[in-house]
Assembly symmetry: C2
Homo-oligomer: 189 residues x 2
DNA sequence: TCGCGAGTGTACCAATTGGTACACGGTGGA
DNA sequence: TCCACCGTGTACCAATTGGTACACTCGCGA
């Protein structure tokens, strides 16, 4: 039962992502991680070949978790753009996901620096999220060109306010700014 | 002439910030930095006491450079909010400052992780920039409460689009989204 | 029963790190 | 002139890092 190698690997990488979300990916060491998740650094090398490959898997899995959030967005069929925006906002700012969001920004920063395991995330960082937002805009009647602009703007605003929230912790202030945005975005038409 | 200790220190820290803006602060080593700016790692310790103190000065100086951008904003007396926004946007997205902006996000990421030399930036990350934006809003006739919300929103949007720009490099697409924002922000009243 | 291979631990290695000890040189003041 | 001191280089140290070698155990198939 479940003794397969892949299972063990998957279990390790999952624990590793949790650890990294909590303690950061920057100064991760195999020994520290191993001690935290109950395995020797020797085993991490054994299962993943090298630290770099382990990091690749960590980044990929962390990305996958973000994508799971996204899929919840995408799966709502007839959701209006404003509801999509609110939903996105509420999900991203769930305190339980704070660590995951911090990790997002940390990986982003390292990707900008060219850290090889992190760089690939830059490709999908914007486009992946744009797609469902554009779809919601178009469904709501915007023409495709402005739909793209509006979606891009909405995504950027959400992320900028998330950055604010993580820095200041001022949930009320940031929520108020978000409401102001929604008013501008949907209220004036 | 000019042989004062402080001068040498200041010169070193300035070169260090340039180096860090180009190569990142994450895996900085005294030897690597020293070799790049023409000084032995021994001297960096001599002038700064420890790597940590050097990093503190690097972060502080990098913050100061951001603040210089800010002061140019603040010094415009009767600038309308929309012009302030455009000015801010154009300055932040100047390709010559790309490295500096990357460093901003990198330091932010590390600050979220609790890296001691970076954490202090979180305090002023939002509030410092809010002040002149709020002032511009109030001067343009907004009541103080919504002025604060609008300023916070504008700052977040600018940063979110900057994140997009650094990730995708799609200047045209991001500029278009910015224009869409300005239309919403100022056009509908 | 035997043996083989996967999973694991211990010990080790080379490289890199921040930091220190000490020695040398030059410049300015007594 | 000579002495003190600042700036600098070289050599070194201890700690930590990723990665490897080898030995051991345990379960399963022949």
């Amino acid at each position: 039962m479940g003794g397969k190698v892949g299972d063990r690997r998957a279990q390790l990488v999952d624990a590793a992502v949790d650890y990294v979300a909590a303690y950061g990916i920057g100064d991760l060491s195999l020994r520290g991680l191993g001690a935290a998740i109950g395995v020797s650094h020797r085993m991490l090398i054994h299962y993943f070949g090298s630290k770099e490959q382990l990091l690749v898997e960590i980044v990929r899995t962390s990305e996958q978790r973000q994508r799971d959030l996204l899929s919840r967005l995408r799966r709502e069929p007839g959701v209006s753009p404003i509801d999509a925006a609110r939903l996105l906002w509420r999900q991203l700012t769930d305190p339980q996901l704070a660590n995951q969001e911090r990790l997002f920004f940390e990986i982003y920063g390292q990707a900008l620096r060219g850290r090889p395991e992190a760089v690939p995330v830059l490709d999908n960082l914007v486009t992946d999220w744009l797609e469902p937002l554009v779809a919601a805009e178009v469904a709501a009647g915007a023409d495709p060109a402005t739909a793209r602009n509006r979606a891009r703007l909405g995504l950027a605003t959400v992320r900028g306010l998330l950055l604010d929230l993580l820095a200041t912790g001022d949930r009320d202030g940031v929520d108020a700014a978000m409401e102001e945005f929604l008013r501008l975005y949907y209220g004036s038409e």
